[in-house]
């Protein structure tokens, strides 16, 4: 790229496609291997299933190419990889126990991936979600308590975490976590300053002010109520962990993590001492190998059988189809031990690494995105996947008490697949926004023409066209061609926030302007993710700020989405 032209950001869709093909290949081999090992022949529906999976993968890839070309290239391949491994394992267990879960799981995979595509299609900018913060809260809470509602609530295997809708049993907590993450992100981004205010200092920790304890106490009570009423530590742990993590992200106060941890421990301690069924879970964890705990109904039989499976797999596993992963729920809650048995510790490490990569990509997206809401949401969603892995896998490996959650992407379960693929969709959307190159030309780049920018970068051409339009003080209508960047601006609430922050932190704006030369440097160097918000490039700012007050008051011209806080990372 010659000096003076707009910086190129590679879409990395090619890498994504390659990785998708790799994930498909791994899945295909795994699936073939299961059939060959168990029946000495390819699975009967081998071609149907592999072709379906390939179609699903290619469709989502094309959708991303069309609607989120700058999205993170690793999320889909990793999710697909885990999904394929899970499918192969579920099929393997089908063969051993005469069930037919694999085809249902395939269907749910299609539904989940379709949902991710719909997210990309309908949500052109994740900031739209901020508008629905209270709707999200209500939906999230309704979903969370729905298993307790008469009529649809459904108790299975000693936990009230299911609802039954027609022929489907759903675990609404899975979907609920997304809505709650959206609500937490919106709520915290509005209230973070207040919550971050320091109270008394105690043992090196800045404690929050007493009056700011309201929200965390509410969530705490809600979590404990879920624990007591649904007899499941998992859901309660999931929600509370998510909230505390996001609270920390928003406020940067380590004290919240400590307080949250203490509150939860105290709450669980209280519940354990009062409620026998929760106590049993703890007994099964602490004294899993005792024969009376092992033999007891609701004891540690399942956990210990899973451990036996992992132990018999050892380092390298028995190989697909060679083990005996037939403990109850070996295909869902206990899919991790099942995989440990047949793929060995080596296989488990590969799976854990895949999760770790996925989560780290999530955090990377959060770091590279510009708006606080997006940061909180991406960070929260990345964390919730990690947290769920930790709670489930930690449960089956006896790190923590066993709970009734599913392993994301791997485990059998429609609601789980649907929810986690939606998370993929949202993360893709946020990462696309974060990585999408500046729609406005840089200083000295105004001479750039579509021809110069090269024939094989159609997306950037669009941006360049929009940039030129913006530079020449085009009308808001023309600016719409720049895509989503203005969508949020139509949201009055957001406008208000921006204006408040612009007024509250004038020094921030000044500093931002001062940093422009350094930012330019970064833009030139960084091809992967632009740390600069699209609308605060020097040129744009220069044109926008003089008339800022009028923009804010009239709302006629969308204001530039300013960085919404003063601790944005700067070079």
């Amino acid at each position: 790229m010659t000096k003076g032209s707009t910086p190129t950001v590679r879409t990395r869709r090619g890498s994504e496609l390659l990785l998708i093909l790799f994930a498909l290949l791994v899945g295909m081999f795994a699936y073939a291997n299961v059939g060959l090992a168990v029946n000495d022949s390819l699975p009967t529906n081998f071609y149907v299933l592999t072709v379906s999976m390939a179609v699903i993968a290619i469709v989502v890839h094309l959708i991303v190419r069309r609607f989120a070309p700058y999205a993170d290239p690793l999320l889909i391949p990793i999710a697909l990889f885990l999904n394929c491994i899970g499918l192969a394992m579920i099929y393997r267990i089908d063969l051993g126990s005469d069930t037919n879960l694999a085809s249902k799981q395939l269907m749910w995979t299609a539904v989940g991936v379709a949902a991710a595509c719909l997210v990309l299609f309908f949500i052109k900018d994740h900031r739209i979600l901020r508008r629905y913060s209270y709707v999200s809260m209500i939906v999230g809470l309704l979903l969370a308590v729905s298993p307790l509602l008469p009529g649809i609530g459904h108790s299975m295997h000693g936990a009230n975490i299911w609802i039954k809708l027609g022929p489907f049993s759903l675990q609404p907590a899975e979907l609920s976590k997304i809505f709650l993450a959206i609500f937490f992100a919106a709520y915290l981004v509005d209230n973070r300053d207040r919550l971050a205010f320091g109270g008394p200092k105690f043992m090196g920790l800045h404690l929050p002010r007493m009056r700011d304890f309201g929200p965390i106490i509410l969530v705490w009570i809600a979590s404990l109520l879920i624990l007591i009423s649904q007899r499941d530590l998992g859901t309660s742990l999931l929600f509370f962990g998510l909230f505390v993590a996001m609270l920390y992200l928003a406020t940067e106060r380590t004290s919240w993590i400590v307080i949250g941890g203490l509150m939860f421990a105290a709450g669980v301690g209280l519940v354990v001492s009062k409620f026998a069924h929760v106590q049993q879970r703890f007994d099964g964890w602490l004294h899993a190998m005792d024969s009376d705990v092992y033999d007891r109904v609701g004891g540690s039989y399942q956990l210990v059988q899973g451990m036996f499976g992992m132990a018999s797999g050892g380092l390298f596993g028995t190989g697909w189809g060679q083990g005996r992963p037939f403990v109850t729920f070996s295909y869902s809650d206990f899919i991790f031990p099942s995989l440990g048995e047949e793929l060995g510790l080596v296989g488990l490490f590969a799976i854990l690494t895949a999760y770790m990569l996925f989560v780290q990509r999530g955090f990377r997206i959060a770091i590279s995105t510009r708006d606080g809401f997006g940061k909180l949401l991406a960070g929260g969603l990345a964390f919730v996947i990690a947290w769920q892995c930790f709670v489930v896998i930690g449960g089956v490996t006896r790190l923590i008490p066993l709970t009734g959650l599913t392993t994301p992407f791997l485990a059998y379960g429609g609601s789980s697949l649907l929810a986690n693929w939606i998370i993929v969709g949202i993360l893709l959307r946020i990462s696309d926004n974060a990585r999408r190159p500046v729609p406005l030309p840089l200083r000295g780049a105004s001479t750039a023409t579509p021809d110069e920018s090269g024939p094989n970068l159609p997306v950037r051409r669009t941006s360049a066209r929009a940039a030129v339009a913006a530079h020449s003080n085009a009308s808001a209508k023309e600016l719409d061609t720049a895509g989503h960047d203005w969508a949020v601006a139509q949201d009055a609430q957001h406008t208000q926030v921006v204006s408040r922050e612009a007024i509250d932190f004038p020094t921030d704006v000044v500093r931002q302007l001062d940093a422009e030369s350094a930012e330019n440097q970064i833009l030139d160097d960084s091809r992967d993710s632009s740390p600069l918000p699209p609308a605060i490039t020097p040129d744009a700012r220069r044109s926008a700020y003089p008339g800022q007050s009028s923009i804010i008051h009239t709302g006629a011209v969308p204001p530039p989405p300013l960085p919404d806080h003063n601790e944005e990372e700067r070079p």
């Binding site: 024969s291 797999g313 940061k375 790190l399």
Partner: protein, 483 residues
């Protein structure tokens, strides 16, 4: 808020490190313990799912794994189950393994270290792992002869090739059918096992090597005689052989068998004393030699050593630190001397092999499924308990026993047999155990045997070693020599 994001991602990283650690803890660190847990049926399934190697006698498979359609992919089958049970042992999903199934397990299931190349091959070719077959030293004819001759009597017989130590027969009666315990229905296996273990004749006990050890009675006189010869005596030396011997320090009078006199003069040669199995002569000899020399001689023959052949053998015992009266009784194989039939056969075998005792063994060769020999037992000397001249003199003395002494029932026409009978008091008002040990041909021994019939077998209180056990020994020798 990038700082907390980075910190949170580090926390998440630590969470994953914890998961890596907990998985490793279960799949690797704790795996041996978890795999050994009796509640872990996988170990059983895996074990029973392997194509276990065969046990082979004289080129015929006596124990095989037959493919079946069930969760356990193979059924263990024993042909001539009862005949070979003391050697094969059983292989049960409920009660585990015994006998050779246990002792040679690593070969049979293919996990032995020496089979690593084989496992690598299976790993690469993807073939189901297959165990190695184990060829036994047993001679089926000898085994059958011993089993048939013992019949329904409680007893045991062991035959050894004295030149190598290879075990030719190892029989314990009554026996059991290992097929009854090899089934895959645990309820049936449990009821069969309960019946066998509750049987007062103890069919599950391997009397030949690991039962309750027996008092050897007069067969122990071979050791006392050996100690005397090693001490400088000769077979022709005249020793005291009174009608009665008052045990030192007591008023108890020791009689000869049936209260008879050993000789008219009250004196006889050492050879004659052995030939007629004179109790008083050997008791006096024992006191003259002293406890230490007899104990040393017994130890040199293998007493006190728990052999692995590779079946575990109970160590035979010659107690020390006793008073003279007890030493006198010990010298004739009573009091607290206890032996296994294998030990008695080893005494004969050492005498037969010019005083060199070969280490007894049951595994001839181990072959991989593609018939390559993985290991082959090389005969090894266990000890040299007596000199060649002592061995020669003892051989002559034992020939005398069979020709015109207490062991005439072991005579075989055309074959010179050397032997020694024993009739061991058992106390508590039960009939005596009948013993016989022998080897043949005396000039170039091919087989050494030991036979015990508990409490005289069918002959009951009338039984002597010469009348009940000697014919069984003869049958075994004949089976081996009649090629």
């Amino acid at each position: 808020m990038n700082k907390p994001l980075r910190r949170l991602s580090v926390i998440v990283l630590l969470m994953f490190v914890a998961l890596f650690a907990s998985s490793t803890w279960i799949s690797f660190v704790k795996a041996p313990e978890l795999n050994a847990d009796s509640r872990n049926t996988r170990t059983l399934y895996r074990e029973f799912g392997t194509n276990r190697g065969a046990l082979i006698v004289d080129g015929n498979e006596i124990t095989t794994s037959v493919p079946i359609k069930s969760a356990f992919k193979y059924q263990r089958e024993y042909s001539d189950g009862s005949l070979f049970a003391p050697v094969t042992g059983f292989y049960s999903i409920v009660y585990g393994r015994t006998g050779m199934e246990k002792a040679a397990n690593e070969y049979l299931n293919g996990t032995s270290d020496s089979l690593w190349l084989n496992r690598l091959e299976h790993l690469i070719t993807g073939a189901d792992p297959q165990g190695s077959s184990v060829e036994l030293t047993l001679n089926k004819k000898a085994q059958e002869a011993a089993y048939k001759a013992l019949g329904d009597q409680r007893g045991a017989a062991v035959a050894i090739d004295p030149k190598t130590g290879a075990i030719l027969a190892l029989v314990s009666t009554p026996s059991f059918d290992p097929n009854l315990l090899a089934g895959h229905k645990s309820s049936e296996v449990i009821s069969a096992y309960k019946e066998l273990s509750g049987d007062p004749s103890k069919p599950l006990v391997n009397r030949a090597i690991a039962g309750d050890t027996y008092p050897p009675g007069s067969v122990f006189k071979l050791i006392t005689a050996a100690a005397a010869l090693e001490d400088g005596m000769s077979a022709d030396d005249i020793i005291d052989a009174p009608r009665q011997y008052e045990l030192p320090g007591t008023s108890t009078k020791l009689n000869n068998f049936g209260g008879s006199a050993c000789s008219a003069t009250g004196k006889q040669s050492l050879a004659d004393a052995l030939r007629v199995s004179c109790n008083t002569a050997f008791a006096i000899l024992g006191n003259e030699l002293g406890e230490a020399k007899i104990a040393e001689q017994a130890e040199a023959f293998g007493f006190g050593e728990a052999l692995q052949i590779p079946l575990g053998v109970t160590a035979s015992r010659f107690p020390t630190g006793q008073n003279d009266a007890a030493v006198a009784l010990s010298a004739i194989g009573q009091q607290d001397v206890r032996v296994t039939p294998l030990q008695v056969a080893m005494i004969s075998a050492a005498i037969a092999n010019d005083g060199q005792l070969m280490e007894p063994y049951l595994i001839e060769k181990v072959r991989t499924p593609d018939l390559a020999v993985v290991s082959e037992t090389k005969p090894d000397t266990l000890s040299n308990p007596i000199s060649k001249s002592t061995a020669d003199q003892l051989t002559e003395m034992m020939i005398g026993v069979v020709e015109r002494g207490t062991g005439v029932a072991a005579q075989i026409s055309g074959v010179e047999v050397a032997g020694k009978s024993g009739t061991a008091e058992t106390g508590n008002n039960k009939s005596q155990h009948a013993w016989f040990t022998a080897f043949a041909p005396a000039n170039d021994p091919e087989i050494a045997v030991a036979v015990i019939v508990e409490n005289g077998g069918n002959a009951g209180s009338e039984a002597t070693g010469g009348s009940v056990a000697a014919p069984i020994a003869r049958a075994i020798i004949q089976a081996v020599l009649s090629k």
